[in-house]
Subunit: 200 residues, 2 copies
Amino acid sequence: MPRTVDHEERRSEILEAFVRVATREGLASVSLRAVAIEAGISLRLVQYYFETKAGLMQAGLELLERQSNQRWARRAAELPRPPMARSMLLTLFEEALPTDGASRQFHLLWMSYAILAQTDPGTANHPFIAGPNRIRERIVAILARGRDDGEMRPDLDVEAEATILLGILNGFGTAVLVGQMTADTALSSISYQLERFSPS
Amino acid sequence: MPRTVDHEERRSEILEAFVRVATREGLASVSLRAVAIEAGISLRLVQYYFETKAGLMQAGLELLERQSNQRWARRAAELPRPPMARSMLLTLFEEALPTDGASRQFHLLWMSYAILAQTDPGTANHPFIAGPNRIRERIVAILARGRDDGEMRPDLDVEAEATILLGILNGFGTAVLVGQMTADTALSSISYQLERFSPS
DNA sequence: CGCGTTATGATACGATTGTATCATAATACC
DNA sequence: GGTATTATGATACAATCGTATCATAACGCG
């Protein structure tokens, strides 16, 4: 069969197997052999497509980044336009919270990588700074538009509010992830905070 | 030397070594041998005082819980009384954020355990639900007192505000931990949110 | 059709890990 | 003071892991 194999396709399949194993048994205890079994291939192939384990781990993180970005891009594209700023924010938060199983897996892996990056020099810390910053900027833009459209108070401090909203989003995200809070409670609580922005 | 050894004392020493290793190299990659070397004892002794590795891990988590509780108790005891609700909240948040190195280590380990509990059935998930809930109740109590004392608005929804404040606290905690945000920014942002509670 | 490159299989190796075993030193107690 | 119990040391073992090696099968291309 060889020679005519789509490398990218194959790498994707292995990466998906990697994600499944990592979310099922934890990022720390993932082994090349377990990934190979999960993907239904031999250990050698995992080595072949990702030279080393570090390479596989790094590719896994990059996949998470890509998936995250493209999911938000897709969501933004299929939004009715022009929606209210408040509903846009609620949609954003609903998307960002670990509501369904897939999102839960994503959050779990993302946080595992974030924790790993704090002790392992081989794991890039940059995504965990740039990622939230991008979300923050998106929140800022939505808030500014809501303010300029008169949907929200004219004296709204969009920068300060975005910082707080992002904090709430992150906090609720992990709270929902560990089961301390339901996604519904989180969303209605966020809605409560958004009501503050309405013009008096 | 044997027979007259303070078991609790010895266990504490080993646990402290465990915490040092875990925060330095990551909770996942901690080994009994590394803990033994860190504590300056033999591998056998670690086995002797904590039958298995799972026992050591569990004891480590319980130590974190104890330290966390007693730190908050100490802080609460040495507070000037009766302080303003707002300053009490700021003190609470400052204590809860990973400002200094020790607090950073604590947060890192705590989150590592929280993540681990999501995939490892051997790690109790209960602390990561009960812990935040206790903090939330504390916030509720302070807010209620501030409202009743007239320091804050009489129509303050203490439950809803406490939920949001706890979310911000958690979110900022990890944001500071991963370096996305400074502790100063986090504190001033929280202060901004607290200003909302002042009577008009 | 043959050859060289790509792709895959089988397997081995050294390191590390958690755990178990055996021996023995030190002390409390009768 | 002898003895049973506690405490500690040394070491072994099987499993697992990441990585490396060698062989070989499959195909594109001239």
